[in-house]
């Protein structure tokens, strides 16, 4: 009876506000889900669960904590309730349950709506839904348990929130502490939160529930200990000593962060071979296992030193991290693996690379070097295009008399590649604000060519000095630790800064560059490259075979009457990628081999979203299959219903050193 009175009281007091909150969330969900469905590169509707767990679910928990708990303590209503014929535990427990009900309920409503939308294109089985409910519900309950405990901390709650957010931010951002495998972090940050259908993350759930239990116990302890005197004292307005305590806590926390943040410098990269060439002045090392490769390694080191010297002469002295180049004979001459040790670490095939391949390799090293120097800021969306183009510009320019002819050929190949990619992209090409999307659509090799062509045009209209000035501002600006400098940097408008340095507006530049690129297509040397590309359009599709299930299909189209001669090596690469992987897994190790003169070759790399190993499958088709318009060349399947795939169609022709991506699309198997 008493419990009923308290439940009715909570409903009467908070029912309208909670109702408004639920309606607001539902509206926001409708809008978000509808917008998401209309997006070109849309993600699964279930992804909104991650969004909810980062935004309105914690916000709802915070609002409820203030309404259910803080308000009662501020109005001293606890003095009234403690004299009523109920145990002290009862009203607190009802508040805890009410908050948990609303927060978890909101999460489940969100899940239900997202699952309803997703069920149109995905198979939402009861067990899959239950697994999602378990994971997201546990996280929502954890949010509430945390808010519950902190809300009972009265005037200290704001300090505790600051410390909590700071601690979580630190744990996520710190490189010295890895919490990605722990409880809620493992659930929330794992890309499979909403995509794993079978496996129950027992360890993460147990840890999450342990945290829920801990915060719940802390909350009840504060509320009930010594007849509620702790909560009562903390509910009072802050006195001078409380301000002192709060200041002390925050200062101690910041000090702790500072101490923890002193990340030790990584150890020097251990080079396991005695065969190495070093340039100590520029901090560059080239390593190889076979002593016979010394002759191949020496010009690489020499070229890299020249590149770094050239870079420093253009943008000023840099504090150079150690750069490592390691020979790997198993990868293609035009492919490189870039990693980071205590400085840039690039694996490449030093053997048999021609001039173009070598320039690509040097560009990769310089790219990684600037990335390291700028502490990662050079790949911010606004500057990334410039980094790609600038590094290529330097390595192409850094040439000798003996390679002058190759340089010219490289330039034409780059311009042709850029021109083909421009056609693939259409008219809306914004280098500053859409670079990642552009690279996604045309691949990194073509994106680099596009950026190179843009800077080539800029050098003609504004001069090389303007490009170097932009490089100093965007790629090598000094690291500013203080907040004022950070805010100042944040307020910089990139197009405005571009205009102030180059003297032309960003719009004028974009238009002028694209016009110039199309004009370049009329040059014989560039046109020759473009003509060598037989296909210009591609598409992928998934059809639902009634017997087999979803089947992937790829097709190419061409407006050419004559396709490559049958004795010419021509390969079509069809790539199926894991949508959640950053790295392009498509182009490693699947070189078309043993191609019969009368065949074109279709390669693809199937990688299901949760596979760590890749299988490579090669399908051969006769050349006649490659001819004609929009002809379906390849099919593979079935894939699992609901599988989300990022598929690209890339074409390799002997004229171009690297594959050219003609199409990219994210699709979901029906």
């Amino acid at each position: 009876m008493a419990t009923g009175s308290f439940i009715k009281k909570e409903i009467a007091e908070h029912g309208v506000a909670v109702g408004a909150l639920v309606i607001g969330v539902l509206l926001a969900l409708f809008v978000t889900l509808a917008r998401q469905q209309n997006q070109e590169f849309s993600i699964s509707p279930l992804d909104i669960l991650s969004y909810a767990l980062f935004t309105f679910i914690p916000l709802a928990a915070f609002i409820l904590g203030n309404r259910l708990i803080v308000r009662d303590y501020h109005s001293k209503a606890y003095l009234f309730t403690e004299s009523l014929p109920v145990r002290r535990f009862t009203p607190v427990f009802i508040k805890y349950c009410a908050g948990a009900f609303v927060v978890v309920g909101l999460m489940l409503i969100t899940l239900y709506m997202a699952a309803s939308y997703a069920s149109a294109i995905d198979s939402i089985t009861p067990s899959y839904f239950a697994l999602l409910a378990l994971k997201t519900g546990s996280l929502a309950l954890l949010y509430w348990a945390v808010v519950f405990a902190i809300s009972l901390s009265g005037h200290l709650r704001l300090v505790l929130y600051v410390i909590l957010f700071g601690a979580v931010y630190y744990l996520l951002a710190s490189s010295s502490v890895d919490v990605s495998d722990f409880g809620p972090f493992a659930l929330l940050l794992d890309g499979t939160l909403v995509y794993e259908r079978v496996e129950i993350p027992k360890q993460a759930l147990i840890e999450t529930w342990a945290l829920i239990g801990a915060f719940t116990v802390i909350g009840f302890f504060i509320a009930l200990w010594h007849e509620g005197s702790m909560a009562e004292v903390m509910a009072r307005p802050m006195a001078r000593r409380d301000y002192l305590l709060a200041s002390f806590l925050i200062a101690a926390f910041l000090t702790l962060l500072t101490l923890l943040d002193e990340t030790p410098s990584p150890d020097p990269f251990p080079i396991a071979t005695q065969h190495r060439l070093d340039d100590n002045l520029h901090n560059v090392t080239v390593a190889y296992l076979d002593p016979n490769l010394k002759a191949a390694a020496e010009p690489v080191l020499e070229a890299l030193v020249d590149d770094i010297t050239s870079l420093q002469s253009r943008i000023g002295p840099l504090v150079l991290p150690p750069s490592y180049v390691v020979h790997d004979g198993d990868i293609a001459t035009w492919e490189f693996i870039a990693e980071r040790a205590d400085g840039p670490l690039v694996y490449g095939n030093l053997e048999d690379a021609d001039h173009y391949d070598r320039v690509v390799f040097r560009t990769t090293v310089l790219h990684q070097l600037l990335l390291d120097v700028s502490r990662g800021r050079a790949v911010f969306e606004h500057y990334h295009w410039f980094l790609d183009g600038y590094t290529r510009l330097i390595t192409e320019a850094n040439t000798t008399a003996s390679t002058l002819a190759q340089r010219s050929e490289n330039h034409h190949e780059l311009m042709a590649r850029a021109l083909i990619s421009l056609d693939v992209l259409g008219n809306n090409v914004d280098l500053i604000y859409q670079w990642q999307t552009i690279a996604d659509k045309i691949g990194y090799a073509s994106a680099e060519a596009l950026a190179y062509s843009a800077l080539d045009y800029l050098s003609t209209v504004s001069g090389e000095s303007a490009i170097d000035e932009l490089a100093m501002r965007w790629l090598a600006y000094p690291f500013e630790a203080d907040s004022r400098a950070a805010i100042k940097r944040w307020l910089v408008n990139v197009p405005t800064e571009f205009e102030s340095v180059t003297g032309i507006t960003w719009t004028e530049f974009s238009q002028g560059w694209q016009d110039a690129l199309r004009d370049a297509g009329t040059q014989r040397e560039v046109a020759t490259f473009v003509e060598a590309m037989p296909y210009r359009m591609a598409a992928v599709n998934i059809v639902n075979d009634p017997l087999l299930g979803p089947i992937l299909m790829g097709s190419l189209a061409t407006d050419k009457q004559t396709l490559p001669a049958i004795d010419e090596e021509s390969a079509l690469q069809y790539v199926r990628q894991d949508v959640y992987e950053d790295t392009d897994v498509s182009t490693t190790d699947n070189e078309p081999t043993n191609i019969e003169p009368s065949e074109c070759v279709l390669n693809y790399t199937p990688a299901s979203p949760f596979d760590t190993e890749m299988d490579f499958v090669f399908n051969d088709f006769t050349i006649s299959d490659c001819q004609g318009e929009a002809k379906t060349l390849w099919e593979y399947g079935p894939v699992g219903p609901g599988d989300r795939l990022y598929m690209t169609v890339e074409v390799r022709t002997p004229a171009f050193h690297q594959p050219i991506r003609l199409h990219a699309e994210r699709v979901t198997a029906p």
């Binding site: 008493a2 009175s5 009281k9 209503a77 606890y78 003095l79 009234f80 014929p85």
Partner: protein, 320 residues
């Protein structure tokens, strides 16, 4: 040591009241908050049907004793019994269903109107009477649909009394309910309490530091000082057992005796004055207060009428 007294007025109390077990009993109760000893061996009995005035200075421990009676806090040592059972664990909530409580500071849910508060309280008290609640609200001139957070102190106290009485309590505990009220509101409130409990069997435990409140209501009083009960008994008995005398200082004025007057032993509670006037307050040690004729007094001394407040102050000062 607690001083107890009975009086003629108490003799008129129904026999069953005296013989029945106490409704509230505190036996050798101590309460300590950290290093602060608030109650120290408190013994106190409230009998059924009586109005018990609980008198003490601010900080004497009255509110702490009430929190113990309500079962809000447990005693550090000793036993607190209400309705014949110890106030421990789940028993507290059960006992509170029969206790009406008016606190010193009224902290209802400020967004609730009296009407909604009534609906809320109905679910908590099994004997709750809507009819009585409505009649009390009407009688106390309280608006039904105004949020209680906007009420004045006096209105809140009347609302608290309405809620306390509508639960049809066997025991009504008032913890300095008139503190902060102006004299008119205080008198009005006390008359309401008196009127409401006169014709019921409700036992009233009324804590205050205002002697006037006690005088108008209490059948029996307890005086608390520094966590210890220094007097328990009727007001009349307290008054009869205390006497005061004064004298203009002249060459003919006799010295006041130290321990006995006209054959009646006494103890000096307070003695003092200056070169012109001397005053003595004493407490008779005999069970029956003596009737001393003026002629039996030392030369120059005359009796002085004492108010209850004078007696209260004298008792506290004597203890110190």
């Amino acid at each position: 040591m607690v001083e107890t007294a009975t009086s003629s007025s108490e003799d008129t109390t129904p026999a069953q009241r005296l013989s029945s077990p106490p409704l509230v009993s505190l036996s050798d109760v101590s309460k300590r908050y950290g290093k602060l000893q608030v109650l120290n061996g408190l013994n106190l009995n409230v009998r059924p049907g009586e109005i018990y005035g609980f008198l003490g200075r601010n900080g004497a421990g009255k509110s702490t004793a009430i929190r113990l009676m309500m079962g809000i806090s447990p005693p550090t040592s000793g036993t607190v019994s209400v309705f014949g059972s110890p106030m421990r664990g789940s028993r507290c909530a059960k006992a509170r269903q029969q206790i009406g409580f008016v606190a010193q500071e009224q902290s209802f849910y400020p967004w609730m109107t009296p009407q909604r508060l009534g609906r809320f309280m109905r679910g908590l008290y099994p004997d709750w009477s809507d009819e009585r609640y409505q009649s009390l609200l009407t009688r106390f001139e309280l608006p039904l649909n105004r949020k209680s957070g906007s009420f004045s102190g006096g209105m809140k106290a009347r609302l608290a009394l309405s809620m306390a009485l509508a639960g049809m309590p066997r025991l009504l505990i008032l913890d300095e309910p008139t503190a902060g009220m102006d004299p008119v509101a205080r008198r009005e409130f006390l008359s309401l309490v008196k009127a409401e409990v006169t014709h019921s069997d409700t036992t009233v435990f009324f804590s205050t530091h205002l002697i006037g409140d006690i005088e108008s209501l209490a059948d029996r009083i307890g005086i608390l000082d520094q966590g210890t009960l220094v007097y328990e008994g009727s007001l009349d008995a307290l008054s009869n057992r205390t006497a005061s005398f004064t004298a203009e200082v002249t060459p003919d004025t006799d010295a006041f005796p130290l321990d006995e007057l006209n054959g009646y032993p006494f103890a000096i509670v307070q003695a003092g004055g200056d070169t012109r006037k001397q005053t003595v307050i004493l407490r008779w040690l005999s069970d029956t207060p003596p009737n001393i004729p003026p002629s039996a007094l030392p030369n120059g001394w005359v009796p002085v009428e004492l108010s209850l407040e004078d007696i209260f102050v004298a008792m506290i000062l004597q203890k110190h």
